[in-house]
Symmetry: C4
Subunit: 240 residues, 4 copies
């Protein structure tokens, strides 16, 4: 019992459950995909649902993992195969408090092409620093594409680097941010930017945000994320 | 108490709250974006929600502003950073009774390209006079893209000119009209026209409305807007 | 009272109200657009709602018109400006029992381009005989695009000819068929075919149905339309 | 009474009814389309709804057919014209336990073009072995496109070969799999892959999964299909 991990704050748990449903409601995840948050009482632990479709996740499904992605609670439940995505990013990026992995269709489309994903407008200023690219073939050859080991998680974290988003060829995308709501914001607007960018590129020459515009827009957006977060939670709860 | 602004008509308030929800239901706004209306009792004031996602706005969130965009009521609430869009357009355009600012995806796509947005059909005849273009870089250099000062609001109003719509590079769009329902109509059909125009341009040579057709169609549409408005309010209220 | 038109069959009225809601639920109409049916007791009359958004139409909104599009009932209500579309097609096409006019976005897109709308698959075999094209400019010059007179209705009927669908430049589309459900079927699958055809044309060379395949598919589909109609009515009633 | 077919397991029946609704909820079928499952007590029989829109199918609509597609129960009901698709595939492919026929729009688009449908990402690894192509004209000349005879069913099964999916020119697609849930999975992700592939091909050069990646991904996905199946059933039941 000395090993029993600390109880996370109730509002953090609530937000994590809400975020699972928000990501589903916004089409970022379907039956697959997941979101984690770093433990508020111990930065060497993170919270992530045991294996379950995000839309169905409840508080009782949330397990605590160490950064090697070993379950410290709910050990009897099967975990997501790809939980190493989360643990290895938390190791590599002390600034990151939340991680999302998804197969949002517009991002998968960019994953399989070489066209850079770039910020069209202020909402996606977090793309201004560029995005990471992960190619499983480089270090691991022919795989089932999943990040199913600590080694693969480490390589993915390396590909993410200091970016907000990494695109994984033939697979999906992973986002990292300073809180649950900031990371959900990045997932939603990365996917929307991808959709709009495809349209814009077909329409003509595109003017993207400059690096400075992107950085300034991100600073502003990060301050007003609560307005969107309140809406998304209300939507996921069927209140609007 | 001598400064207390007059009470707006109850039906105007009701329509403004309804319009917030309509714009959300039609995908014109998400967590961000806003709609205002000029005060019916004092043309030097306008009504706009305090900071809140449009879908969640109620009567109690509606503040009164002067045309310099100072709050005259609900002073304890945070206002939208970009309220200057509204105040400065009301100053520059006495004919305008309602203003919408949004990031509707199809309009953002046109914002970042040079292709002119033009009316495909009678419903978007109000585009027949062309649309304004706003580039924040011209007068303000590298910004966070937001219209966060009276100066920027004034430049935006100048870019709007006599048009119904102004496209803001890397940001979104702003519409102005003769009433709440007319401006909502313009937002909805500007966005739909943008979507269809992208498809049409890929399909082949496009025949747009002539200026005369556009003007005549607008005159007719302006007379039957109540039919659509009744539907939109019913939709937003979950009645259909 | 000798002029009082006969009462239409109750099930015909029910189907017409249902069809209004089906067309809305399937995105064929929005606040505007309308569907009529020829009177079952008098082929020189037709049933059409008085001015109202289709989704809100009830039995009490259904008026009876003669083929010159004069209201024989509900004379105190405003009628759709474009009711002449219906009356003139019923005059010109004794085989037609129902008419739909709409601004479905994918069909508007084809309206403004010269690319022919052709049947991609068996469901849209009714496009196999080609579609009509209407250009208001030819006979009427610069208009507000609406079919607001018997003369314009007659020209439109002429452009429809023996086809199932006529595309109206800068405006929308009109469909005609052998019953309410057959015409609703044509509206839904014409719009879906247009969407898919745009995608297919971008993907590569397209093989369309031959005239013989289209005719045979139409003959088969016309026999099983009840299966879809039962679903559409259940959808519009919120039962599925 | 000696001919009375065995009762299928209750959970198989439940899953088949659920799958009908899932396929509707995910836009794979509309009024038309169908899913069958091989009888768990007798591999020479299969279960398929009598003629009805999938979204409306209940347990009482499920009939038992022999592999020549003769109804053994519910003989008084009209059957789907195209039930031969199911019977003939069960004959030709002992490994197949469930069959879906649909007109999913993105798949119809690929049906009419020669561009190969290929797996963009791990979720559609089952496309890695390629897909079958069926052209009714080759053996049957000009038809109504439907698989309305045992002969046509046999030719379709031949075109399917050992693949998971066969694309039918001018008509739709048919999928086969090892269980109801695996086949539903294939329908959903084949359609999604088609949509994304169209976008990706317009965006630039596309890197598809290699055959080895596709095979490995399929092996992994087949093991975790329960997570998605639980979600899809909850969605179709209106629980999320």
């Amino acid at each position: 019992m000395t090993d029993r991990p600390p109880e996370p704050d109730a509002s953090l748990l609530n937000d994590l459950v809400a975020a699972n449903r928000v990501l589903y409601a916004k089409g970022i995840v379907d039956g697959l995909g997941h979101i984690s948050v770093r433990h508020d009482k111990n930065p060497s632990m993170y919270l992530l649902a045991a294996e379950r479709a995000p839309a169905l996740v409840t508080k009782d499904d949330i397990a605590i993992y160490d950064l090697d992605s070993n379950a410290l609670t709910l050990k009897e439940r099967r975990g997501y195969i790809e939980r190493y995505i989360h643990g290895e990013i938390y190791k590599a990026r002390p600034d990151v408090m939340s991680v999302i992995h998804c197969h949002a269709p517009s991002l998968v489309t960019f994953c399989v092409c070489q066209v850079p994903l770039k910020p069209l407008y202020h909402m996606s200023g977090f793309l201004g620093h560029g995005v990471g690219r992960f190619e499983a073939r480089e270090a691991f050859g022919m795989t089932d594409m999943l990040i199913s080991s600590p080694d693969m998680g480490r390589e993915l974290a390396k590909s993410l680097g200091g970016h907000a988003v990494v695109l994984m060829r033939g697979h999906g995308a992973t986002m990292a941010g300073a809180s649950i709501k900031h990371t959900v914001f990045r997932a939603i607007y990365a996917a929307l930017n991808a959709t709009m960018q495809m349209d814009a590129m077909r329409l003509g020459d595109v003017t993207y945000l400059s690096d400075e515009e992107a950085a300034k827009a991100t600073a502003t957006n990060d301050k007003v994320v609560d307005r969107s977060w309140a809406l998304w939670k209300a939507e996921a709860a069927g209140e609007v």
